[in-house]
């Protein structure tokens, strides 16, 4: 990966919002998956420079 990153640490780097129900999700460090406690939507989790991000749905839309 490139070295040119502004590496400031934000206070809520591990907080995300569920895209389905907007409940707050506190992602454990280095987690790769996370299930929303309120609506059970399961997410693939990624990390960018210490900040959690939603990569996608574990169960991406199937027929």
């Amino acid at each position: 990966m490139f070295k040119a990153i502004s590496g400031r640490k934000q206070p809520r780097d591990r907080t995300l919002r569920c895209l389905n129900c907007f409940a707050r999700m506190d992602i454990p460090q280095r987690a790769e998956r996370y299930t929303c406690a309120k609506c059970n939507t399961e997410y693939e989790i990624g990390w960018r420079s210490g900040q959690a991000k939603i990569l996608g749905l574990v169960n991406y839309y199937k027929d």
Partner: protein, 636 residues
Amino acid sequence: MPLTGKVAVIDLTKGEITKTSIPEDLRRLYLGGRGLQAYLIYNYLKPRAETIGPDNVLVVSAGILTGSMAPAASRTQWGGKSPVTGAIASSNMGGYFGPELKFAGFEHLVIKGASKKPVYLWVHDGEIEVKDASHLWGKDTFETQQAIREELADEDIKVGCIGIAGENLVRLANFRTGPKDAAGRTGTGCIAGSKKLKAIAVRGRLGLRPAYPQKALEYAKEAIDKIMMTKVAKAMGVDGTSYIWNVTNSSGLLEWMNGQTNRFPFGDWHDMTIERFHEEYSTGIAACFNCTVHCRHQFRLKEGPLAGAFGEGPEYNTQTAFGTYGLNNWGDMLLGWHLANLYGIDTTGWCNAVRGVMELYQRGIIDKKVTGGLDLSWSNAKEITPKLMELTAKNKGIGAIIGRGPLGIISELSKYSDKVDYYIQHCKGLGKLGNVDRVQPSFSLGIATSTRGADHLRSRPALDHFNLPEQVLEKLYGGKVSSDYTSYDGKARMVRWHELTYAVVDCIGTCKFQTVFFSPNLPAYEEWSQYLLYNTAMEFTKEELFEIGERVYTLERMINLREAGHTRADDYPPERSFKEGHKYGLKPVRGKHLDRKKYEKMLDEYYELHGWDNKGVPTQETLKRLELDKEPSHIV
């Protein structure tokens, strides 16, 4: 003196150049950038002019703060009358062109008439020359920029230019600078091509003098520190605008195959993510002038006809364009993107046009006789992309139809079916992005009422997705707005607020991404007043800035009324948005589409907030209040 940027009027027919300073009262009404540009267009454009011809104008406008001591003060606005829509041409670009123009002593260039032979403008330290460009005609946008630098023996010259698409009067042609910066939409490159204007080269050694240097420096640092503590600054700094794709894809808010499905239908969505791009193609990340967020990607192609080529990008818009008509991996998407940049073609508009034509092919409305033997199935996207791109740039075959944009496609292909109009996804003749608007009233209203046609930057209320508490929204918008992005409540107010606010940003010339576009914690009116005060010594209250936004937006509306007769009938999203719900998506998205009655009511509220009548025409009272009743006033 803090504001020395002049307006230069360049008449390419007569070969005459005049330079004028901008009077302060005009500044107080229009500020600079997009605002003053709207004024210049309304005053210099011959009413109902042919878009491809000497009566159209090409206006280049740096923001009032472009090149000054404000975060990300890098932006330039391009405009005129659009060959794509017949309404206002308006497009904003980042990079380094605008600051250099300001350093050379100019804020606006109004280019009218047309040259008989290819020319380029050489703008340097208060001087403008018209130089021969016949040796540049036929070169792509990369070659042109470098050739001019070598000819004028200065590597620091910034060059904006057209590729062969602009030369061939392709309506979707754009005006480009650097590896990827573009005044992408509404056909700015076509306007330039019709004037035989190949390029504008700029070099400035005059610099800019902020009114209060120490205060400007300190305040900028404070602003930067605040901006860099937001989550979005980090997201953008690593993933660029593509950080949005993972979120919208998961929600079911992206659409493929021209809006027929909102589930990725061409393979594994993991292959389309920015994470995959990082693993396979990224060579680094860079920034625009004065920007600490650094959101522009850099890459090198590894295989195919352009193996080894260096480019910049992608953007979210690459994925929602090249990633929506059949391409399913970065190698192919980046190739399409890079070709568009070399030829100088609007990527958003081109991919929208291709999607439309491919759906017609899928439905058997057009066949190989119409496409010149080309197989336009979704599954053939990889094979077809370089060929289709070349045909578009050269204005040949099916490429010539695609290159005209939605109105041209509908006009050419309606003879095969009266359904063509339904399948081509546009507003006012500008193609829409490959994202889902139909479930979200604010986004739908936004693309429908945008003064330049279906675009995602005029008013995109991205905040609508953050489910912010209603007290926060009420404080921001000055009225009740629902936190639910599928609701209609208060969305007219939300859209109008963002329209006017982004108009102000475009007058100022700082990057939208470092403003309230992405977060309520990012700079807005208070910060901009400070930037303006310390850099220009001009004082503006929040209310005065907001009024400037109103004035600019309403003036753009007047331009559209005069040039294209746009009224309420043109303020609707594509018909598909009302008729079809998507099969997939999370709970807020699945199965939803626009409700016609509720949309009409929202549109009524929108007009009322703007002070326009129920046909969407600005009332005399509004024009008087905004001092637009005396336009065109020809002060400059």
